[in-house]
């Protein structure tokens, strides 16, 4: 069992590997189409990455592979030195994915959604923690409404609370600014800064290149599933 499995206050811990991400000649196929073709890239620890590219250029595919939601068709991905396929379980403990799908149960309330996740994570007093996080993303007033009644922006906020609950060492953010009002965008920016200060590696895929540049050090541009670097 790796020392980090189940460890938590990941913020203070030094990373086990010198590379946060190590992408080795990775390809991913969906049916007959290649979403990602022979991509290689490395991201040192401590740096954060801005992922850009047009729609369909493979950003989401890359993030989902890093999150171990899907497996690469060919090639290898290492997250904090661990193989995203062979050591899926450990990688999953380290990453947090903010995806296009919110991972929220429509029929449960905001609070119940967080409580279920907190229980699965083994967090003590899940209700208090859920309440804390709902305050943090500004949803306290709606905590007892089912997610089905939420607007797109509120779902985004709740999904972010879900990510924070896990306090990941690598945060994979897929379009975190979409569907948010200007105040929401500012809050998410502040949040990313906080995450970074706490030592989290942030991978940010967004079309808002200016905001993204301000928050990250390096950038990977994808075209037609191929990395163009910068």
């Amino acid at each position: 069992m790796p020392a980090t499995a189940g460890a938590v206050s990941t913020a203070a811990q030094p990373a086990a590997a010198s590379l946060a991400l190590d992408i080795r000649d990775v390809s991913k196929r969906f049916g007959p189409r290649w979403a990602l073709a022979r991509l290689s890239y490395t991201l040192p620890c401590g740096l954060s990455l801005l992922l850009t590219g047009h729609n369909g250029s493979g950003k989401t595919t890359l993030l989902r592979m890093l999150a171990t939601a899907i497996a690469p068709s060919a090639g290898k991905l290492l997250v904090l030195g661990r193989d995203a396929v062979a050591e899926r379980e450990e990688v999953r403990r380290d990453i947090g994915l903010l995806s296009h799908s919110s991972f929220l149960y429509e029929d449960l309330t905001a609070e119940q959604n967080l409580v279920v996740l907190a229980r699965l994570l083994g967090i003590a007093s899940p209700k208090d923690v859920a309440g804390q996080l709902l305050t943090r993303v500004g949803l306290t007033a709606r905590s007892n409404n089912p997610v089905r009644q939420f607007s797109a922006g509120m779902r985004k906020r709740l999904a972010i609370a879900r990510l924070l609950l896990k306090s990941p060492r690598v945060a994979l953010l897929d379009e975190p600014f979409s569907e948010l009002d200007p105040a929401g965008i500012a809050e998410v920016e502040k949040l990313i800064v906080t995450l970074r200060e706490a030592g989290t590696t942030v991978v940010l895929a967004t079309h808002l290149i200016e905001q993204g540049r301000a928050l990250t050090e390096t950038r990977l541009h994808l075209t037609e599933g191929r990395g163009m670097g910068e």
Binding site: A5, G6, A7, V8, S9, T10, A11, A67, T68, A69, I70, A71, R88, E89, R92, R93, I95, L97, S99, S101, S102, F103, L104, Y105, E106, D107, L108, Q112, V116, L117, A118, R119, L120, L121, G122, I123, A124, V129, Q132, L133, R136, P146, R162, L164, L165, K166, S167, T194, L195, E197, A198, T200
Partner: protein, 234 residues
């Protein structure tokens, strides 16, 4: 970051329990759906009697078969619903990434489905008594045992196939196509066992039918536990 919470891995059964609780909570919060399901099953029972005419003896004789067909049809809907809920915002993927042991997901989901189908049985029982004129009073404990094992037998393979067909095209056709022929042994034995309880067990063959039913359940719960990680982990 101030809000770092003490995360510790939890056991398989605990995770299964949390998932079961969550599923039951969702079912409770969407009671309208269950009501519709119950009416569907009752309508099926009524339709059998309409299709066969008002021959009370015939209906009473075949009551067990009709009831289990009604339960089977309704449970297909309930099973596919239980994975449609997970597909809505890719929550099944969310569960996997927590990370949750896929076997815990199987146990939780299959238990949830078994509870749902059993609840359906309990609701259909009085309806069956009313429209098919059977008497259940004397064998009630035995009957509930048969019903419970029958529900367990349906829910395990049902959960595996519902998880598979939820992500395929034409899933509404695929689930019954895979599940119904699979369930033939369970259906045969549970119908026989129910009929024996309702009509009296002259040759003492209830035990052997229940045995077959238990075997079926045990095999599929074990099989589901073993293969479910393959099913949901790409």
């Amino acid at each position: 970051m101030s809000a770092s919470f003490a995360i510790r891995p939890i056991g398989l059964l605990r995770a299964a329990g949390i998932i079961l609780g969550k599923d039951l909570l969702i079912e409770w919060r969407t009671r309208a759906r269950i009501n519709a399901l119950v009416f569907f099953a009752v309508a099926t029972l009524l339709l059998f009697s309409f299709a066969l005419g008002p021959d009370v003896d015939l209906l009473r004789q075949n009551a067990a078969g009709y009831m289990w067909l009604g339960i089977l049809f309704a449970s297909v809907l309930s099973l596919s619903e239980s994975f449609r809920v997970e597909a809505e915002n890719a929550t099944l993927e969310g569960l996997k990434l927590v990370p949750t042991d896929p076997r815990a997901v199987f146990l939780g989901k299959a238990c949830g489905n078994a509870v749902m189908i059993f609840a359906l049985c309990l609701i259909l029982l009085p309806v069956m008594v009313a429209i098919y004129d059977v008497s259940i009073a004397e064998g009630l404990p035995k009957l509930s045992l048969v019903l419970a094992i029958g529900c367990l037998a349906i829910s395990a393979p049902g959960t595996i196939f519902a998880a598979i067909s939820a992500n395929a095209r034409a899933r509404d056709v695929l689930l019954p196509l895979l599940l119904f022929p699979m369930l033939v042994p369970a259906l045969l034995s549970v119908v026989k066992a129910t009929a024996l309880v309702l009509q009296g067990d002259l040759q003492d063959s209830l035990r052997s039918w229940l045995g077959l039913l238990c075997c079926f359940s045990v095999i599929y719960w074990a099989l589901g536990f073993a293969v479910f990680p393959k099913v949901i982990e790409d």
